[in-house]
């Protein structure tokens, strides 16, 4: 009996161990299946062990098993298990059935953000023929599922007229090439021979692309060039090649025109773009633009601070007296050379040709030619009499700072940002054999010795101010002297050619002996800094100080206390020049003022109000369109944490404009922008809308205060002349009579290649929407804005809510189930 009991116990143990192994193996199979995502060998082995284990449990004591399942309790248990499995199976079958039926999902979001707008559904219902949608997605592209969901909606609503195919661009490069697909996630709409593309699966993008393919025609945008504008063919950080690609996707074809060459705006132009000109427009160009807009044309004008004159510009940067002393030539940030009668300051000529602001001018020794430099990266030679351009000297590749003729008239030399001295033959304009002479720093200034045997150059950085001297015959370096410890801004030879004087921005004055190569620098103007130096033929030295004064040195002492101080400028003086007889010195500066001083008396002979203070383009906007581009730079302390004070971030837009309504919930930013003022339009047929506004912590700063460095954070001077924020950065205008449309933005680099790298901002969307409005293609693709209400839980402001969620999930729910279970148990027990 005992033995029988032992066998029974062993059998029981074996049975339950077998079941345990079987269940564990079943668990292992499930884990392996889920982890590997497929039914692998390990899963099959686990399943086998599991089946063997469960079979062992049944077979070791089959009688006990049969009696267990055929007993009353067993049958109840089995029935319950079968019913549960049946319920789950019905649920799964129901799910599969619904999935099979491809039933439209319900959009339970408050703002119906997953439901196609009425505009889209109407557009789909109006399809007059089949539209093929090719969605190019790589298999690994996570956006494919979202695209599928969204395009399914379009397919359903189109009543079979729109069909969607997903294409793997890597597997079908020929098809991708046919539609010029360059990235996964490009969606091509095709109807007949018309195609358009969408770069994302937002309803705006997709419906826009659909509308364009239905619309069919291309739009032509002409970018006006010739004034240093940004170009669609510019692939560097400042160019517009990226936004050009976006425009192409919208069937907008871009091209460039120079109004002075074409004389008109092409008849097929849907709009023109003026993107950040740095030189001024001529009256002729303004007349062409005005005629085009009067006929109902459209234009977008993007303007940077400081362009078109005013205190935010560089004013007049170069000045020279003619050898006979009768004429003064100046080079201005407006891109022109102006000639003035030295006797009274009357303007006697304007020379145009540079495509950006000028930095220097110099006469040839015979006075017949002028050489000029510009930030358009060119050095040009002009005939003084006719104003005709004689040559564009080849060699410079970056902004050019200074150029001059050698005193013997045989050479022309220039220096600039490209860290080299370029020297040309002044007759043939061919570079000298030894040119260019490379240096390790950007250069700011140069000077020929009076005998033309040497050329000295200087420049540097905020920590070094070296000077180099070369032999002009051999091109061999004679002196390389780290004389200053900051930028050398200006230099001049003494009349005997023995000494080179240099002025650095830190206020040190250098003196270099050309014979010995020895030099020294004294901190004569260390309190203020110097920006220019000139030496008259009699040896008189004039300095321009950063505090906007001109100092005439009267002794050789180290201190400037005996200097004659000439005050009149209100901003940095860029250049000085003595008249040939030394009786007068002329100074020019950022304040756009040309002051002519009497050296002997230390008084102002006369003042010229610089180059045209108002850009004809800005004047046209103000007079004809009641839009004033303010002479300021916008500083926004409220949004400075993302970039800096000079880069306002905009989140306030006009909510009804078709340009800004689609981006109401998005951010844009405008680096180094100027503000815009809408003038009174009550007496006109104009409708002006402020499209984009900065924060209330911003202002349009109209002067730099005490500092001359605009980009030193915290040093700008807020004053009463500033324009208080929020300020307007972009305006749209429509002439209700002629139908002409205009968009003006106080910034041009917000859609440059570098700025479009910031993909979390919607600068490109803003630009594209403006183009669509201007080309009148917005009507068919305008979608009502969807106001999303962010209902996500914010733990920062809802700690009580968080606790409630935690308590209800961790305690209340389990307690509720336990209480319910107990209730059922007690009820059943009381019935027995």
């Amino acid at each position: 009996m005992n033995e029988q009991n032992n066998i029974q116990i062993d059998r029981n143990v074996l049975r339950w161990v077998s079941l345990g192994i079987g269940l564990l193996a079943l668990l292992a199979m499930l884990v392996a299946w889920i982890a590997e995502g497929k039914f692998s060998t390990a899963s099959w082995i686990s399943l086998g062990v599991s089946v063997a284990g469960i079979a062992g449990f049944i077979l070791v004591d089959a009688r006990a098993f049969v009696s267990a399942i055929t007993g009353r309790q067993g049958l109840f248990g089995l029935t319950t298990a079968f019913m549960t499995i049946f319920f789950l199976a019905v649920m799964v079958a129901l799910y599969l059935l619904l999935k099979q039926a491809n039933i439209e999902p319900w959009d339970v979001s408050e703002s119906q953000e997953y439901t196609l707008s009425d505009t889209t559904t109407q557009l789909l219902s109006e399809l007059d023929g089949p539209v093929q949608v090719l969605a190019f997605y790589a298999p690994s592209d996570y956006g494919k599922e979202e695209a599928k969901l969204r395009l399914d909606q379009y397919e359903r609503e189109s009543d079979g007229k729109l069909t969607v195919d997903f294409i793997d661009p890597d597997a079908d490069p020929a098809l991708a090439g046919k539609y010029e697909v360059e990235s996964s996630g490009t969606i091509v709409f095709e109807q007949g021979d018309q195609t358009s593309k969408a770069d994302s699966v937002t309803e705006n993008e997709l419906t826009g692309a659909l509308a364009r393919v239905m619309l069919g025609d291309e739009r032509h945008l002409y970018a006006i060039v010739g004034h240093g504008e940004r170009t669609f063919t510019g692939y560097d950080t400042t160019g517009y090649s990226t936004i050009n690609r976006h425009l192409e996707n919208f069937n907008i074809i871009t091209d460039e025109i120079n109004l002075l060459e074409t004389g008109e705006i092409p008849a097929d132009a849907d709009m023109v773009l003026i993107a950040g000109p740095t030189a001024t427009f001529t009256d002729t160009e303004i007349a062409i633009l005005s005629a085009y807009l009067d006929e109902g044309g459209a234009a977008m004008i993007l303007s940077e601070p400081g362009t078109g004159g005013g205190t935010m510009g560089n004013g007049v940067m170069g000045v020279a007296f003619s050898p006979d002393g009768d004429t003064i030539a100046t080079g201005g940030a407006d891109g022109t050379i102006r000639l003035w009668d030295a006797a009274n300051g009357d303007e006697i000529g304007v020379i145009r040709g540079h495509t950006a602001g000028l930095t220097d001018v110099a006469f040839s020794p015979d006075g017949s030619r002028i050489v000029s430099t510009s930030i358009d990266n060119t050095v040009r030679v002009w005939d003084v009499e006719s104003g005709e351009q004689l040559a564009v000297l080849e060699g410079e590749t970056a902004a050019v700072r200074r150029a001059t003729f050698s005193p013997d008239g045989n050479l022309i030399a220039s220096v600039g940002e490209n860290q080299a001295v370029n020297i040309w033959d002044a007759d043939t304009y061919q570079p000298m054999a030894y040119s260019p002479l490379a240096v390790p720093v950007p250069l700011m200034t140069l000077a020929f010795s009076p005998d033309s045997a040497h050329i000295a150059v200087g420049g540097g950085s905020s920590t070094e101010g070296p000077i180099y001297v070369w032999n002009t015959e051999t091109g061999e370096v004679e002196i390389s002297e780290p004389l200053h410890s900051s930028f050398v801004f200006s230099m001049a030879f003494s009349p005997d050619g023995q000494t080179l004087k240099s002025a650095a921005v830190d206020g040190t004055i250098g003196s270099l002996d050309i014979e010995s190569g020895e030099g020294s620098a004294t901190p004569r103007y260390a309190d203020t800094g110097t920006s220019a130096i000139a030496i008259a033929k009699d040896g008189t030295i004039a300095y321009a100080l950063v505090d906007a004064t001109v100092h005439l040195q009267t002794d050789t002492g180290a201190q400037p206390d005996k200097d004659i101080v000439l005050s009149g400028h209100t901003d940095v003086i860029w250049d000085l020049a003595f008249s040939p007889d030394g009786s007068r010195v002329v100074s020019v500066g950022r304040d756009n003022i040309i002051d002519v001083w009497n050296v002997d008396e230390g008084t102002l002979d006369y003042m010229i109000s610089g180059h045209s203070a108002v850009d004809p383009l800005l004047q046209y906007l103000e007079n004809n369109w009641k839009i004033r581009l303010n002479d300021d730079i916008v500083i926004d302390l409220g949004t400075a944490q993302q970039f800096d004070e000079f880069t306002p971030i905009v989140y306030t837009y006009d909510e009804f404009s078709p340009i800004t309504a689609p981006i109401l919930n998005q951010y844009t930013f405008f680096p180094d922008a100027r503000s815009i003022t809408r003038l009174d339009t009550s007496a006109s047929s104009l409708s002006l809308i402020a499209l984009a506004l900065t924060s209330s912590s911003s202002s349009g700063v109209t002067s730099w205060g005490e500092t001359t460095d605009p980009y030193t954070v915290g040093t700008y001077g807020f004053d009463e002349a500033d324009i208080p924020g929020p300020v307007t950065l972009a305006v749209s205008a429509e002439d209700l009579e002629s139908g002409a449309r205009l968009v003006v933005v106080g910034d041009s680099d917000f859609v440059s290649n570098a700025m479009l790298e910031y993909s979390n901002f919607d600068n490109s969307q803003f630009f594209i929407k403006a183009v669509e409005w201007l080309t009148e293609s917005e009507d068919s693709i305008e979608l009502p804005p969807v106001n999303f209400e962010d209902r996500r839980f914010d733990p920062q402001f809802g700690l009580v809510q968080l606790r409630l969620v935690q308590i209800s999930a961790a305690c209340l729910m389990p307690i509720a189930f336990i209480v319910a279970g107990l209730g059922v148990w007690i009820t059943r027990r009381s019935r027995r």
């Binding site: 019913m83 099979q100 790589a138 890597d170 490069p173 360059e182």
Partner: protein, 206 residues
Amino acid sequence: MQTRNRLISGLVLLGVAAALITTFVLLGKREEEPEVDETAEAETVDLFPDAVFGVVEAFSVTDNETGDTFAASIDEDSFEWVIDEMPTEPDPALVVDSNQITSSLFSLPSLQSSRVLSEIEALAPFGLEEAHYTITFRVTSGGEHTIYVGSQNPTGTGYYVRLTESVDLTQEVYLVDTYSLDSVIWFLENPPLIEPTPEEEQPEGA
């Protein structure tokens, strides 16, 4: 008896449910079939599994359009790279930049394909009917391998390549990372030559 009937009903319902699920699963599978792109596999594949741990000792790259070839091999004595062939006459003042060659070839034996395309209908769309470049390399273990390089993919991230000389459509086309091949193709126009490093002067008396 009632319990037994319940059990039988439960079993019948279970059977019906199982039949339903099977039907829908099979139907669903059949519907999804066209979307399964069997010609494109996204798994990475070693192109030369037997050379993965090898070191390149000789290689050549040929522009099949111009016929220009750049070839170099490791000199058995000096263990430095020597140029066997290049499109233009080398400047005698320059020396071979062995470091550049070594670093450019480093990933060649372990080249991987991010996509394998099979059942292709034509090689021309991949630029492989007449491959643009042919790269051949030999590893220290002795094996010689050839890659026929076609066009770049539309997104510019890779080159299509084939591994056999034939233009048989039953072969597979591989997509290989652009950078790995560009560093070798680059030698055709920019031979790895540098100015020799000046020898340090010996101090007097040394």
